[in-house]
C-alpha cells in the first residue's frame, strides 16, 4: 500500500536477493484548465449547482457535460440539472489506490440524473451500502461552501427520501 504524498526519490537503494531496488517517485504538478467545461466547476463551487449541457438538435442532455454532441456535431447549451436521479450501477470498494486507502470502504457508482442521457459517476454517502440497488432514487448533496474546492468531489449522492 502506498502512502499519500511520500517522495521516494531520495531514499537509499535497497538490496533484495542480490538485486538493487531503486526507489523513485514520479510527481508532476498541474493547473489544468477545464476549458469549455469550466462552468460546471464554477457553478459547483460557487453556487452548489449541477450543470449539464443539451444538444440543440437531438435534445440529448449530458451530465457530466460535453461541449458538443457526438451524434449531431452541434455545440451544446448549458442547462441546470435537478441533481436527482436513480442509481444505475455501483460498486463498494474495500481495497483501493493509495490516496483513497484511508477512505475505504466507500461506494461509488453511476446515477442517471433526471433527463440525462448517460449516468454521472460519484460516491454514495450517508447510506448503508447494503441498501443500494439499481433504480434507487438518490439526489446530489453538496459540501458546505468553505469545503468546496471546485472538484468533482464537492458533491456526492445520498438517498432521496422524498422520491
Amino acid at each position: 500500500m502506498g502512502m499519500p504524498g511520500k517522495d521516494l526519490r531520495f531514499e537509499p537503494m535497497k538490496e533484495q536477493d542480490g538485486f538493487a531496488i531503486i526507489p523513485d517517485t514520479w510527481k508532476v504538478d498541474f493547473y489544468a484548465s477545464a476549458g469549455e467545461l469550466s462552468r460546471f466547476f464554477i457553478e459547483l463551487k460557487d453556487n452548489a449547482r449541477l450543470m449539464g449541457t443539451k444538444c440543440p438538435r437531438c435534445g440529448s442532455v449530458y451530465c457530466w457535460p460535453r461541449s458538443w454532441c457526438h451524434d449531431c456535431y452541434e455545440d451544446c447549451d448549458w442547462v441546470e440539472m435537478s441533481g436527482k436521479g436513480r442509481v444505475q450501477m455501483f460498486g463498494t470498494v474495500f481495497i483501493s489506490l493509495s490516496e483513497l486507502q484511508t477512505e475505504v470502504p466507500y461506494c461509488a457508482g453511476g446515477v442517471l440524473l433526471d433527463g440525462a442521457r448517460y449516468p454521472l459517476i460519484n460516491y454514495f454517502r450517508d447510506i448503508d451500502f447494503a441498501e443500494i440497488h439499481p433504480g434507487m432514487p438518490v439526489r446530489a448533496e453538496f459540501l458546505v461552501p468553505e469545503k468546496r474546492l471546485g472538484s468533482i468531489r464537492d458533491f456526492y449522492f445520498v438517498p432521496d427520501q422524498g422520491a
Binding site: R9, V28, F30, S33, A34, G35, E36, S67, W68, Y73
Partner: protein, 391 residues
C-alpha cells in the same frame, strides 16, 4: 500496395495556451476543419489514428479513447501513437499503412497536444525527461535542449558554424511565421536580438528554442478509389520513411558523419519509395523539425539538399528562405509557427498539402508539385519520419 491520398486537412490556431479548450475540444475543432475541407461526413471515417505525445501534457494516461468516443467513433478502430517529436510522422505512417494495405479506405489522423496545464515549464521539462533510461539517464535531468546542443556544437566545431548562423534560422522562421495566421510566434527579429536572449544550454539561447504550443491538426487519408468521394483534388503520399535510433543520445553505431542518422535513414527511405535521386531539385518546399535553430542547418544536410558541412552555406545563400531553391518552414516551423508536439507532424503534412494545392496564402511557394514533411523526436533525434507528398 494501394496509393494513398490526403483528401482533407484542418487545424486550430496554435497558442501558448488555449485556456478555453480541453484537449478533446481542440481535437474536435481540427477534425471539423479537416472534414469540412474534404467534404467528409463522420460516417466516411473508418478508422482513426491519434497522434498524442505525452500523457503528462494531456493530464490523462489514455487521452485517445476519450477523444475517440466524443468524436462519435465508438466501436470503430482507434489507435494512439506516441514517439516523441516524431509522433505526428509515425501517426501518418500508421494511417498510411492502414490505407495502403487495403485494411481501410478512409483513415483520419488526429494530432493534439496541451502543454500549459502542467503547472510550469520546469514541471513540463521534467515530464519529458521521463523518456530517458530510468536508471542511467532520467535522474540526471537531461533536457531536450541538452541532447540537441551537443550535436549543434559538434557542427560548429567541425564546419565552422557560428551562433550567428544559428540565429539566422530563428530570424527566418519567426519571420516566415508572420505569413501564417495560425502561427504562435510571428516576430521580426535581428540576429542580434537572438544572440542577446537568455542562454539556456550553450550554444542555445531562449530564442533558439522551439515553441511550447497547444493546438490540434487533422488530416484525412484515402485510397485512390475512395479519394474520388471527396471534394478536393487528392495530394498523394508517394514516399514515407521511418527510422528509430538508439534512445541513448551518445550511442550511435556506424553512422559516419551524420549527426541525426535517424533523419537520414528516414529521408533516404522516403526518397527511394518516391523515386527521388536528387532531393535538392525534386523537393520544392519542406516543413522540417527545427526543434532548435542549429538543428535546421543540420537537416539541410541530412535531407541531401546540400553536402555534409555545407548547411550553413545553404542557409546563408538564401536557399532555405522564401524565394530560395528549397524553402524550409514557410509556416514558421517549430520556432515560429507551432510545436504542439503530437500535432506537429500532422500539421506539417497539412502545410505541405496546402503548398501543393496552392492555398498557402502569403506563405505560398510558387509552383510546388512536391514537398517534404519531416518530424523527429527522442534524445538527439532518435525517431524520425520523412514524408514526400506530390500533387
Amino acid at each position: 500496395m494501394d496509393k494513398v491520398a490526403v483528401v482533407g486537412v484542418g487545424n486550430t490556431p496554435f497558442k501558448a495556451r488555449h485556456i478555453d479548450k480541453t484537449f478533446p475540444r481542440l481535437a474536435y475543432e481540427s477534425v471539423r476543419a479537416a472534414m469540412d475541407d474534404a467534404g467528409a461526413a463522420k460516417e466516411d471515417i473508418q478508422s482513426v489514428v491519434y497522434s498524442i505525445y505525452n500523457d503528462f501534457f494531456e493530464h490523462c494516461m489514455m487521452p485517445d479513447h476519450h477523444i475517440h468516443y466524443l468524436l462519435g467513433h465508438a466501436r470503430k478502430p482507434g489507435l494512439r501513437v506516441t514517439t516523441g517529436g516524431a509522433t505526428g510522422g509515425y501517426s501518418i505512417r500508421a494511417a498510411f499503412a492502414e490505407v495502403a494495405s487495403g485494411l481501410h479506405d478512409v483513415v483520419m489522423v488526429v494530432g493534439v497536444e496541451k502543454v500549459a496545464d502542467v503547472a510550469n515549464v520546469f514541471e513540463m521539462v521534467k515530464s519529458i525527461t521521463f523518456a530517458g533510461d530510468p536508471f542511467f539517464e532520467s535522474r540526471l535531468g537531461g533536457s531536450p535542449s541538452g541532447s540537441y546542443a551537443g550535436a549543434i556544437r559538434w557542427h560548429m566545431e567541425h564546419y565552422g558554424t557560428t551562433e550567428e548562423d544559428c540565429a539566422r534560422v530563428v530570424v527566418k522562421n519567426k519571420g516566415n511565421a508572420r505569413n501564417n495566421p495560425d502561427a504562435q510566434s510571428p516576430m521580426e527579429l535581428t540576429v542580434e536580438d537572438v544572440l542577446a536572449s537568455p542562454m539556456v544550454v550553450p550554444p542555445l539561447k531562449i530564442l533558439d528554442h522551439c515553441l511550447n504550443s497547444e493546438g490540434a491538426a487533422t488530416v484525412i487519408l484515402a485510397s485512390e478509389e475512395a479519394a474520388g468521394r471527396f471534394k478536393r483534388e487528392p495530394v498523394w503520399i508517394t514516399g514515407i520513411g521511418a527510422s528509430t535510433e538508439s534512445g541513448r543520445q551518445t550511442e550511435r553505431d556506424d553512422v559516419g558523419d551524420s549527426l541525426f542518422p535517424a533523419v537520414k535513414a528516414s529521408a533516404d527511405a522516403a526518397y527511394r519509395m518516391a523515386g527521388i535521386d536528387d532531393p535538392s531539385s525534386a523537393i520544392k518546399v519542406a516543413e522540417a523539425y527545427d526543434s532548435f535553430s542549429g538543428v535546421e542547418i543540420v537537416l539541410y544536410e541530412e535531407f541531401g539538399f546540400c553536402r555534409r558541412g555545407e548547411g550553413t552555406r545553404f542557409l546563408a545563400d538564401g536557399r532555405a528562405s522564401m524565394g530560395g531553391s528549397n524553402p524550409v518552414n514557410p509556416s514558421g516551423g517549430l520556432i515560429g509557427g507551432e510545436h504542439a508536439i503530437g500535432a506537429t507532424g500532422v500539421y506539417q503534412v497539412a502545410e505541405v498539402v496546402r503548398q501543393i494545392r496552392g492555398e498557402a496564402g502569403a506563405r505560398q511557394v510558387p509552383g510546388v508539385d512536391r514537398g517534404l514533411a519531416q518530424s523527429m523526436g527522442g534524445a538527439r533525434g532518435a525517431y524520425s519520419v520523412t514524408i514526400v507528398l506530390e500533387g
